[in-house]
Amino acid sequence: MKKFLAMLLAIVAVLGLSACTKDDGLTMWCIATKSDSNRHSYEEAIKEMEKKYPDTKLNWEAIENETYKQKIKAAVAGDNMPDIFFTWSCAFLGDFVKEDKVYCLDDAYKGFADKLPEKMCKNTTYNGKKYGVPLTMNIVGLFANMDILKEVGYDKVPGSYTELIECCDKLVAAGKIPFGCAGKETWCVTEYLESIIEKSIGAKALDDIFCNGATWDNPDVAKAVTIFQDMIDKKYFDPDGVSLGNDAVKQNFIDGKYAFYMNGTWNCADFSQKGPKNCQVAEFPVIDDSKAKLGQLIGGPSDTLAVAKSAKDAENTAKYTFELGQLICKYGYLDGCGLPAWTVDYDASSVNELTRSVADIVAKSDYMVLFGDTAMPSDEAGKYLEQVALVYTKQVDGAGFIAALKAAIR
């Protein structure tokens, strides 16, 4: 009986413990977990904000990517949103805007218009109203291990498609593996496939398919898929890739097993620290120059902070979020986690060389198509990724790919 009472006491203690929840300051949720490359930039930015506004306490929490998506949706459903929350641009934030859960940032933006170009807000503008503060942005880059390229006689990344194919043939002949791609994580396959499609059909056409309701029933897309599968057939891709996750593939590239690796430019910091020793980044070459041209990229501003409609003192919170976003962007760029969506008005000479060359590529670009799975609503993205995975394992060909997506999406 005594033990039983002790247990009851313990329960009461737990209940008591839960009764004293804090309710001061702002709350923020993001995905910059402890091991995330963006973590440091959040920490620095928040430190600076706390110094500037000692009265505003920011209670922030980072949640692992996949869990976060679940958590923020549940919070929206249960009206338990934090004041400030991380979101992806386009469809993901759009869903919340549609439900009228997000605070409109048009008024607050006026104070920051000179530092944040209008075009960087394009992905988070719905019905002409701004709802998001962009942070860093990333594009897909063709990373190249120059030491391996040198062995087959190249001292720069092949600039044209024919040259790239030649280079790959030489690599294969020399017993090297040109590309590594993680088949177990479909987003990694899209990094390749989307670039190939874009450089075949042109940025505008791809953007229309992703965002503006154009049909997937486009023979040029099928042709691009065939090109990708031909590359797989010609052993340009590590055959083990179908069984690997991105961590393993990326490690292989760092260890010098692949000549090229196509992935997001958030890798720049890692590659400049861990290797490969001679690494360069370039744009994927143009495949069909009647439709596509250089300067058309995959990527753009996606990482975003937004303010909940339910936020305390929403207008001031919105201003606070802009300032915070600007700082996160700045420190993120300095850390080499991505490119700045905000104007650079500080000394950025310490940024690693790879990130700076990405900045050059972006500066010369004139069209960016956001990653397909971010641009599309999540149900469509699911169907799209399903087909992309089948492309990589060659369970569907180009014609099958467009037919399936036409049936499932448009």
């Binding site: 996949e66 998506k69 679940q70 949706k73 549940a74 929206v76 459903a77 869903d95 549609k98 439900e99 088949g183 177990k184 994580e185 479909t186 055959p239 083990d240 179908v242 069984s243 690997l244 996750g245 393993a248 609503p377 999540s378 149900d379 993205a381 699911g382 169907k383 990724l385 399903e386 995975a389 089948l390 394992t393 060659k394 369970q395 049936a407 499932a408």
Partner: protein, 298 residues
């Protein structure tokens, strides 16, 4: 002794905590899932009435955006089959061997139960390394000469090659052998020692003792194990998630991966709810089926 009315109140009071938990956390949410399964719903915001469309997507091949739900059920039942016909016999064998009073009985018992206690993340990562293209399994195959010098690695984990499902099953079956072993060991030990000895005096071998004395007395425990193995197989998720890596996996899909895929990644909560409803019905069906089978055998 006590008045009936009074008993009614007592019964209610005694059941109350369990009922509150059961209704509040299991029944009510399930009922809401059942309702949601008829809507197009993102998990928040607007719901749109769909009627049976979500279910049609799961069953009708010609329906737009068909989901191969039947495959996932087949996979889960296959796992249940392996579980009942390979895992449980293995567990039974171990339990019988240990139950004979072998030296180090307790040690083996403890060690064999260990995998149950280790986080599935560890188990999953370890088996990923075993099935890795340059992992333990392929290295062994090269060592014994099954794979020759120039041969490509066998892709145990790739989609579309028919091996992924089994690469997911093996760790799952292995991890819980110890659990069932412990259950069955309990059954073995519950046979009175005198009975064993009497049988031996009559000239029975160890095997005959097991076959004719021990096993027949274990019906109840085997039933529990079978129920656990089958409902566990139908609900399986964690290890598949880690080893298949991709929730949208086709080769290794089970109802739970489809459920989580549509709920978390695709934000199609209505479909996920429909899967949840079907999954629960399936589990009910099998639980009842097994009980009936064991009852008929009496």
């Amino acid at each position: 002794m006590k008045s009936k009315k009074y008993d009614g109140v007592t019964i209610f009071l005694f059941l109350l905590p369990a009922l509150l938990l059961f209704v509040g956390i299991l029944v009510a949410p399930m009922a809401s899932s059942a309702i949601n399964s008829f809507y197009q719903y993102k998990g928040f915001g607007q719901k749109t009435w769909l009627g049976w469309d979500n279910y049609k997507r799961l069953f009708n091949k010609d329906f737009p955006a068909y989901i191969p739900f039947k495959d996932s059920v087949v996979h889960a039942l296959l796992l249940a089959g392996f579980s009942v016909f390979i895992q449980l016999p293995l567990a039974l064998g171990l339990a019988l061997l240990l139950g004979r009073g072998i030296k180090g009985e307790r040690f083996f018992l403890s060690v064999n139960f260990l995998p149950v206690l280790i986080s599935t993340v560890v188990i999953g990562q370890l088996w990923l390394k075993i099935f890795d293209p340059r992992g333990l399994l392929n290295s062994l195959l090269r060592l014994v000469g099954y794979l020759k010098e120039g041969d490509d690695n066998i892709q145990w984990l790739a989609e579309g090659q028919g091996k992924l499902l089994y690469s997911c099953f093996i760790p799952m079956l292995w991890q819980y052998v110890g659990y069932h072993m412990l259950l069955m060991y309990a059954g073995v030990k519950s046979v009175p020692t005198e009975l064993r000895e009497a049988a031996k005096i009559d000239g029975a071998t160890d095997w005959q003792v097991d076959r004719f004395v021990v096993i027949p007395s274990m019906k109840q425990i085997v039933k529990v194990s079978v129920i656990f193995a089958i409902t566990g197989s139908l609900k399986s998720y964690d290890l598949i998630r880690i080893i298949a890596m991709n929730l949208s996996t086709k080769d290794a899909s089970v109802p739970s991966t489809i459920l989580m895929d549509y709920m978390t990644l695709r934000g199609e909560y209505g479909v996920a709810s429909a899967v949840a409803v079907l999954l629960i019905l399936l589990c009910f069906f099998f639980a009842i089926l097994i009980s009936t089978i064991f009852k008929e055998r009496d």
